[in-house]
C-alpha cells in the first residue's frame, strides 16, 4: 500500500468514519428526547358554543403547530402561543380592528388549554380569558376532529 493511499485512508477514517460513529451516538441519545404532543388540526368545542371576537357562537378552534409554537384560530380571534410544560398558552396578536364585543376589542385576550393525552380521540380543556373589565373567563372542552398531518 502506497504512502498516499495510507494517507487517504486515514483522512477518510477521520472525515467519514468518525461522523458516522457520531451519528449513531446522536440517534441513540435522541431516543430519550420528548417532543410536545401533536395538536395540529381542528378541535370541535363540546356543549355550549363559545363567544369569541365578532363571532357569538364559535364551535371549533383550529390549531397550527410547529413544535412548541402554536397558531390558534378561535372564531375571528387569531392567537399565537406555545407549550409551557404540558399546557398551551396563546395570546392575541395585536389589537382587533373589527368591532369585536366589549371583551375582545382593545383588550388582551388569551386562551389556556391542556390536552388529555390518555383518551382517544384527544380532548382538551381550555379557558378563554379577556382583560376587558367585567369579562368572566369562559371555560370550554374540545375534541380533536381532523388530524391534519401526514398528507400523501
Amino acid at each position: 500500500m502506497s504512502r498516499r493511499t495510507r494517507k487517504t485512508l486515514a483522512i477518510y477514517a477521520v472525515l467519514v468514519g468518525l461522523p458516522l460513529l457520531g451519528l449513531a451516538a446522536i440517534l441513540r441519545a435522541g431516543g430519550r428526547l420528548h417532543a410536545p404532543p401533536p395538536v395540529t388540526g381542528e378541535w370541535r368545542i363540546e356543549g355550549a358554543a363559545v363567544a369569541a371576537g365578532t363571532d357569538t357562537a364559535v364551535q371549533a378552534l383550529a390549531i397550527s403547530q410547529s413544535g412548541v409554537y402554536l397558531d390558534v384560530a378561535l372564531g375571528s380571534l387569531s392567537l399565537r402561543g406555545r407549550f409551557v410544560g404540558d399546557s398551551m398558552v396563546a395570546e392575541r396578536r395585536g389589537r382587533s380592528v373589527r368591532a369585536d364585543g366589549a371583551c375582545f376589542r382593545d383588550a388582551g385576550v388569551r386562551v389556556r388549554m391542556r390536552v388529555d393525552g390518555e383518551v382517544r380521540p384527544r380532548r382538551m380543556a381550555g379557558v378563554l380569558e379577556s382583560d376587558g373589565r367585567g369579562c368572566a373567563p369562559v371555560a370550554f372542552t374540545a375534541v380533536r376532529a381532523v388530524p391534519a398531518r401526514r398528507r400523501r
Binding site: 493511499t5 477518510y12 461522523p19 417532543a35 410536545p36
Partner: protein, 428 residues
C-alpha cells in the same frame, strides 16, 4: 375548479418566474434562484401579506390541489432529466480527492444536521414524529447539493474543464444519488410508522427494483440509443416509450413506499448516456419543463411557505443556526476534505462554495418532508430560507475565493490536456 382560474394562475406564475429570474441573472445569480424567490413572493410571505384578498382570489385553497398535481408531473420529468444528466464516467479517474471529498461532503453535513436535530426536535417537532425520522431527514436535507444548478454555474464560469470543476461535478453526482437513497430510507421509516409497508419490505423491494432497472431495463433501453443512431433523432414513439418507463418507475417506487420522484430519477439514471442521445432527449423535454412546469412547483412551494411563522428572536435564532450548520457542514466539510487530499486552499474553498449550492433539489426534498409530516411548517420555512441563502451565496462566494482571473489562468495551464467535452445541462 374553473379552467379559467387555473390558466390565470399559470400565466401569473410564469410571468413572475421569468421576470424575477431575469432580474437575478442581471445581478450574477443563477436564474433558478430568481424563480425560487418569485414562488415565495406569490405566497403568504409577500402577496398574501400585502394583498390578502387578491391572494385569496388568485390562489384559493381549493385550487391548489390542481396546481400541485401539474407541478408534480413537471417535477417527475425534471427528476428524470437530472438522472439522465448523471453520467458514471464523471466518477472515473477523479482519484482520491473526489472519493474522499464526495463522501465527506455528505457525511459531515449529515452528521451536523442530525446533531442540530437534538436541539430542534423538542422545540420544533412533535411527538407524532420519531426522533430518528426527524434527525435522518434533517441530515439528508443538509447534505443535498443541487447538481443541475452546480453544473450550470460550472458551465457559465468556464470551470467545467478545470480540476475544480471536474471534482465538483463528480462529488455532486455522488451526493445526489446518495442523498436520494438516504431520503428513500427516511421516507420508508416515516411511512412505516404510519402503517404503510414495513421498512424491511420497502428496503428489500427497492433493492430488487433498483437491480431490475440497472441490470434489465438499462440494457433494454440501449436499444433506444441504437434506434436513435439509425434515425438521427428521438422520434415521438421513442419519447413515448421513455416517458412510460419514467412514469412506471415513478409509480413502482411510490407503491414501494419510497417516493415517485426517486423512481423518475432512477429511470433517468439508467438511460443510455451517449452524448447525442442525451442531448436530443433533453432538448425534447427540457424547455417546457423548465419554463412552464418548474415555476408551478416553485409557486406551490411558495404558497406553503409562511415566513411569518418564523417569529421572534428565538425562532430567527434557530433559523440562523440552521443556515450556519448548513454552510459549515457543506462548505466546510467539502473544503477541508479537498484541502487534505491535495488541492490548494483556493481550489478547496471553491469546491466548498460549489457544493454548498442547494437550490431546487433542496426544495424538492423539503416538500417531501412537509408532505409526510416529518417537518413542521415553521421548520419548512426555515429550511426554505436556508436553501435560498446557500444558493444565493454561491456565486459571490465563488468569485471571492476563486475569482475569474484564476479560472482563466487555470484553463490556460490546462490547455492542451485531453478534457471531456461539456455536456448539456438541465437549466434549473
Amino acid at each position: 375548479m374553473q379552467l379559467g382560474l387555473l390558466l390565470v394562475q399559470i400565466a401569473i406564475i410564469v410571468i413572475a418566474a421569468r421576470c424575477v429570474g431575469l432580474l437575478f441573472r442581471r445581478i450574477g445569480q443563477p436564474q433558478v434562484m430568481g424563480e425560487m424567490v418569485a414562488g415565495i413572493m406569490l405566497g403568504p410571505s409577500l402577496l398574501g401579506g400585502l394583498a390578502p384578498d387578491l391572494s385569496a382570489r388568485l390562489f384559493p385553497a381549493a385550487s391548489l390541489g390542481f396546481l400541485n398535481s401539474i407541478s408534480q408531473v413537471g417535477l417527475l420529468v425534471f427528476m428524470f432529466l437530472v438522472g439522465l444528466e448523471l453520467n458514471p464516467k464523471l466518477l472515473r479517474g477523479r482519484g482520491h480527492t473526489a472519493l474522499v471529498t464526495s463522501h465527506a461532503s455528505i457525511v459531515i453535513p449529515f452528521f451536523l444536521g442530525s446533531l442540530l436535530a437534538l436541539l430542534l426536535y423538542p422545540r420544533l417537532s412533535d411527538a407524532s414524529v420519531t426522533f430518528t425520522g426527524f434527525a435522518l431527514f434533517m441530515g439528508a436535507a443538509m447534505s443535498v447539493t443541487a447538481f443541475p444548478v452546480l453544473a450550470r454555474i460550472l458551465t457559465e464560469r468556464g470551470l467545467m474543464r478545470t480540476r475544480v470543476g471536474s471534482v465538483a461535478i463528480a462529488c455532486a453526482a455522488v451526493d445526489d444519488v446518495t442523498a436520494w437513497c438516504i431520503l428513500a430510507v427516511v421516507v420508508a421509516i416515516v411511512r412505516s410508522s404510519d402503517g404503510a409497508l414495513p421498512v424491511w419490505a420497502t428496503v428489500a423491494g427497492s433493492l430488487v427494483f433498483v437491480a431490475w432497472m440497472v441490470l434489465v431495463v438499462r440494457r433494454a433501453l440501449a436499444l433506444l440509443e441504437r434506434r436513435y443512431e439509425q434515425n438521427g433523432r428521438v422520434t415521438q414513439d421513442m419519447l413515448a416509450v421513455i416517458l412510460l418507463v419514467a412514469l412506471s418507475s415513478a409509480w413502482a417506487t411510490e407503491a414501494l413506499g419510497v417516493h415517485a420522484l426517486f423512481g423518475a430519477f432512477l429511470a433517468g439514471a439508467v438511460m443510455p448516456k451517449g452524448e447525442g442521445f442525451v442531448h436530443a432527449l433533453t432538448g425534447k423535454l427540457e424547455d417546457v419543463t423548465v419554463v412552464l412546469l418548474l415555476p408551478l412547483f416553485f409557486a406551490f412551494t411558495g404558497l406553503r411557505t409562511h415566513i411569518g411563522l418564523v417569529e421572534g428572536g428565538e425562532m430567527w435564532g434557530y433559523c440562523a443556526l440552521i443556515i450556519l450548520v448548513a454552510v459549515v457542514g457543506k462548505f466546510g466539510g467539502s473544503a477541508v476534505a479537498a484541502r487534505l487530499t491535495g488541492m490548494n486552499t483556493r481550489e478547496a474553498a471553491a469546491i466548498g462554495a460549489l457544493m454548498n449550492t442547494r437550490g431546487l433539489m433542496e426544495l424538492v426534498i423539503l416538500n417531501i418532508g412537509l408532505d409526510i409530516g416529518v417537518i413542521s411548517p415553521a421548520v419548512f420555512a426555515m429550511m426554505v430560507l436556508m436553501a435560498l441563502a446557500t444558493t444565493f451565496m454561491t456565486s459571490p462566494l465563488l468569485e471571492l475565493v476563486y475569482p475569474a482571473r484564476l479560472i482563466r489562468r487555470t484553463r490556460l495551464d490546462a490547455a492542451g490536456d485531453a478534457e471531456p467535452r461539456e455536456r448539456p445541462h438541465v437549466a434549473a
